[in-house]
């Protein structure tokens, strides 16, 4: 009961303060209290609803071929979900490319269930207040099945190394009207945009602390945001066009981040601002 009341209060504070300059500090404190309460009761994370939803979707016969994704091979064999996320991204011989969890689920939805890829990637991410879409819910379920494990993607095959190297090059590449790269915000310790702290993502120690939190439940947009969605948000801020889900750029950046975060614990879905 106390939990519910505080949760509502926290959401109200966030929802009702559009600019909320001075209130941001109070908000941060309130969210911190909320996080503490989630730790005390791990079943209260709203992101877990999407884990359940994703699990149901995964096992339900769907698509033109009316089959479930239980034969989808996430790298550890068809239907094996436990621990699969901890070893992604990886190279898949059947697709002849490196894939992260969302790109792989997209591939399975297309190849196994017969969905049209173009339809799936047309508007793949929710807007504020909308729940994560089906593919994202399944990615959240798969990631959750590696919670408590450590990032252990080998990424040592030639195509995998090439992908990580591409990710690193992209991480440093500056373009667009603001001349931004990922490094503009994520190449130093202790920096902020407004009041939001910025992790130094090319630093393994800092990457290990945060990369395993995604997909994460974002309090400010009241939905689970996947890593592919998070990257779209970064490129949006960089004044770039919408990043295509499953593109080589998205996979390479995720592979670079996963490699940098190697050994870091997975705690997905975590709770974020």
């Amino acid at each position: 009961m106390e939990l519910k009341r505080t949760l509502v209060a926290v959401l109200l504070v966030i929802g009702l303060s559009p600019v909320a300059m001075a209130q941001d500090l109070d908000t941060e404190k309130a969210i911190e209290r909320y996080r503490q309460m989630l730790k005390a009761d791990p079943w209260s994370n709203p992101g877990l609803l999407d884990v359940d939803r994703g699990e149901t979707l995964w096992a339900t016969p769907r698509g033109p071929k009316n089959v479930s994704l239980e034969q989808c091979d996430l790298g550890k064999g068809p239907g094996k979900v436990d621990g699969a996320f901890a070893e992604l991204p990886r190279y898949f011989a059947d697709a002849d490319r490196v894939m992260d969890v969302e790109t792989r689920i997209l591939w399975c939805m297309e190849k196994l269930q017969g969905f049209n890829r173009a339809d799936l990637i047309k508007s793949p991410h929710p807007s504020g207040g909308q729940p994560v879409k089906e593919l994202g819910a399944m990615a959240t379920y798969v990631a959750n099945k590696s919670s408590g494990m450590k990032f252990a993607a080998k990424l040592d095959q030639p195509k995998e190394r090439e992908t990580v190297a591409l990710g690193q090059a992209l991480f440093n590449r500056r373009s667009g009207p603001f001349d931004f790269a990922c490094t503009t915000c994520h190449a130093e310790t202790g920096k902020r945009i407004r009041l939001q702290g910025l992790p130094f993502l090319s630093n393994p120690e800092e990457a290990r602390k945060v990369i395993g939190e995604w997909p994460a439940y974002r309090v400010s947009s009241t939905h689970v945001m996947t890593m592919q969605h998070r990257l779209v948000d970064c490129f949006w801020q960089m004044r770039m066009p919408p990043l295509e889900l499953g593109s080589d750029v998205s996979v390479a950046l995720i592979a670079y981040l996963a490699k940098t975060a190697e050994g870091g614990e997975i705690n997905a879905p975590a709770l974020k601002r």
Partner: protein, 214 residues
């Protein structure tokens, strides 16, 4: 004793900044630039407006290429070339007045609107400079970022000087003209802000009555 310690510290610091770019460059695996460009082209297939508005955003210009190749710490010769090239892009107000309205400057410093893919179709609203995202500017605004230096009392500590006012205008228009491979956007050169807006931002920094200088 202190002087020696400072001198040693400074030498160590200079040694570190001299060594860091070389180390980073060595660590980085080489990736074919054409492959990176092709991956970028393929990853951004849809644009909210005409393709000609967006395709130039996908490629770094010569200055950005040089900055990325040197981890934003270019050797002197490259830095000098960048400064000369970027200085040549700066356009000045035709009436010669560099200081506008600090109140409008404060508004644009607060605004991050403009040029994001959700900001189209274009609407009747000016782009922001989003200065507070990275800089502290006034005592009253506590929600400021720290990627750039604090600009509190910017004009006051420069005695509101004429040369300093021109330097502020040039810095906002194109920071690479004085600081090659700065992380700051080229707000004038890249047409994020108009010349009138840059004058307003200069006023925010350099006007004695601006909240920056209170």
């Amino acid at each position: 004793m202190h002087k020696i310690a400072i001198a040693l510290g400074l030498t160590g610091f200079l040694a570190v900044i001299a060594v860091v770019p070389a180390t980073l460059a060595q660590q980085r695996p080489t990736v074919d630039a054409a492959k990176v460009d092709a991956a970028i082209q393929a990853a951004f297939p849809t644009f909210p407006t005409a393709a000609s508005d967006w395709t130039p955003r996908l490629a770094p210009d010569e200055t950005m290429k040089q900055c990325v190749a040197n981890d934003n710490l270019p050797p002197k010769a490259v830095g000098d070339a960048i400064m000369a090239r970027e200085k040549a892009t700066i356009q000045y107000p035709t009436d010669g007045k560099l200081v506008g309205d600090w109140k409008k400057g404060e508004t644009l410093a607060q605004s991050g609107f403009g040029l994001r893919f959700t900001d189209y179709p274009a609407r009747d609203r000016p782009n922001g400079g989003n200065c507070y995202a990275c800089h502290q500017l006034t005592k009253t605004e506590v929600s400021y970022g720290t990627i750039g230096p604090s600009l509190l009392a910017y004009g006051k500590i420069r005695n509101f000087g004429e040369a300093e006012t021109k330097a502020a205008y040039e810095k906002i228009y194109n920071p690479h003209a004085s600081y090659p491979c700065s992380l700051m956007p080229r707000l004038g050169n890249n047409k994020v802000l108009t010349i009138e807006q840059i004058k307003d931002a200069v006023a925010l920094l350099m006007s004695p009555d601006s909240p920056v200088n209170q």
